[in-house]
Amino acid sequence: MGAVQSHLTRRRFVTVIGSLAVLLVVAIVVCASIGPVRIDLFEAIDPRGDGVDATILLRARVPRVLLAVAVGAGLAIAGAVLQALLRNPLAEPHILGVSGGAAFGGVLTLFAASRLPLPSYLLTPVGAFAGALAAMLIVYRLGTVHGRLQPYTFLLAGVVCNAFTGALIMAVNAMADLFQTHGILFWLMGSLATSSYRLVLSSFAYVILGGVLLGMQARALNALSLGEESAAQLGVDVASVRRTCFVVSSLMVGAAVAVSGMIGFVGLIVPHVTRLMFGPDHRLLVPASALVGGIFLATADTMARTISSSSEVPVGVITALCGGPFFVYLLRRQGERHFR
């Protein structure tokens, strides 16, 4: 952790990001080598080997771990940015109902894809993105009174939105029996199982593109933590920053949900822990959260597929088991701060 310096220097930025990147690589290697079937890493990468270990490693584990990294990074960035935008450390894509909106959008487009001549892998991300953005806008509207954000109304609106979209997903599922490929658990609890490198690549494309766009807003996000008026008085074009951040973070959540369903609390825990370790400056917080998010979700998913020998636990269950108590803890702490 080290002593927190009182402002961000280039050197500190490079040190922190560099160390986290090394840690991420280590985590990827370790997670890929762990699983119900023991594999020998050296055997697997040996071209003269029989290829069984290589198949397990390259067809199942590596893409899955990489997908976890991309999804974890995307959700963590979205969480960090939403927390800054709403000036509330409790904000999180899942809690705010954005993930729910994305899942519902994804389900709807799956439904549409079964009647349209368009392939679902093209439609689903679009639907998830639209759903995420719509949920974000609705919750934002509900949580804003006379242009001022009401943090608790906002969170409640998110909780309601989440419950509502969950019910809608169940309803669509009951009416249209289309979940042969995607079990409903996929949307409601999340899963990272994949063997598709195309999926992995496109997920990374979203995360990197979105991360760069949001990272460029970092100084504005710092100023925004003083509130919208003070940020504007510091020369920040608040309306444009807010628009960019809401749209891009919704896009990132949509992209994550489209490939992995609803995995909660990553966007809550990761930015918070990262802020504790490296301070609140968003120039460091946003990229560091991405790396920590990748490490966290890859680890959680490895736990999910190894914790029980008979069957897999959904990764969303693991993150929720960590995140639920954490949320309650933060809520109480924030309450204390407000009522002191």
Partner: protein, 286 residues
């Protein structure tokens, strides 16, 4: 230092017949006043009379319904946020910070209008921030998280942040609200020193004695309109204050400092005053 020196040529504020409201009703009506470069203007008036709204209008947060606000002759409405941020710094009434930024980081936020989206601060930015911390007496707090400061300390840090913006015009909204008397006087002494360096100061004040002591020009607002404006001795009078604040307020001259002293009258004394004949029981009144 550098930009405040050249600030003598800049920093003019013209508010011309400005009317504005948040919803249907206007809360500021036909307000006009001007602050010359290096002027010290105080805006006083009861709660809800529109003081904060005027400050926000000058900083371009909202556009007037009618009338104009100009900085050095340029309409605020035609300037970008960043251009305004390079000329005008604002010390708000309160700052609420949800994240544990350090005091130094907060003061470096003042460099925002001068820096790009991601850039790291340069040596000069740090120098400006350090000098702002020194002048506001907050250098010793530099490494503390702002979330752990007292209201008064936060207020001085907010002033340091505004100074780090190197503004030609400094707007303050009741900056001494959370300060004890020593720190209030120190803050206004600092503002006066900045004024001497050419920075234009426009401040709302709830403390009428401080207004009388420091301001060159006073604008007295009443229900969104200018009730009276001019030199402190012309505005801060028994008649004006008593009418606008709707309570008896006496003004006397301090012969040592040659400044005005403002004293509100408490209810009991007011009763004695109204019935000078009944010397018997001042406590009995209707």
């Amino acid at each position: 230092m550098s930009s405040t020196a050249e600030g003598s040529a800049r920093g003019r504020v013209d508010v011309e017949q400005v009317t504005f409201g948040y919803h249907r009703d206007a809360v500021v009506r036909d307000v006009s006043f001007r602050a010359p470069p290096g002027g010290f203007v105080g805006i006083i008036g009861p709660n809800g009379s529109g003081k904060s709204t005027v400050i926000k209008l000058i900083s371009g947060l909202m556009a007037p319904w009618s009338g104009h606000i100009a900085l050095d002759g340029t309409d605020v409405a035609s300037l970008s946020r960043r251009e305004i941020g390079r000329r005008v710094a604002v010390v708000p009434q309160e700052t609420d910070m949800p994240f544990p930024f350090t005091v130094l980081e907060m003061v470096l936020f003042g460099r925002t209008p001068h820096l790009g989206g991601f850039a790291f601060e340069q040596e000069r930015d740090l120098q400006v921030a350090r000098s702002a911390l020194e002048r506001t007496g907050t250098l010793a707090l530099a490494d503390r998280p702002v979330t752990e400061l007292s209201g008064g300390e936060r207020q001085r840090v907010a002033l340091a942040r505004a100074l780090a913006q190197e503004p030609a015009i400094l707007l303050l909204d009741e900056p001494s609200a959370f300060l004890d008397i020593r720190h209030a006087v120190e803050m206004y002494d600092l503002l006066r020193a900045l004024r001497d360096e050419g920075v234009t100061i426009v401040s709302t004040l709830h403390d009428l004695n401080l207004a009388a002591l420091y301001c060159e020009h006073i604008v007295l607002l009443s229900e969104g309109t200018v009730y009276q404006q001019g030199a402190p001795s012309a505005v801060i009078t028994y008649e004006h204050l008593t009418a606008v604040y709707e309570t008896e307020i006496y003004v006397s001259m301090n012969e040592i400092t040659n400044t005005l002293n403002v004293l509100p009258l408490d209810g009991r004394s007011r009763a004695t005053l109204r019935s000078p004949a009944s010397e018997s029981s001042p406590s009995r009144e209707t």
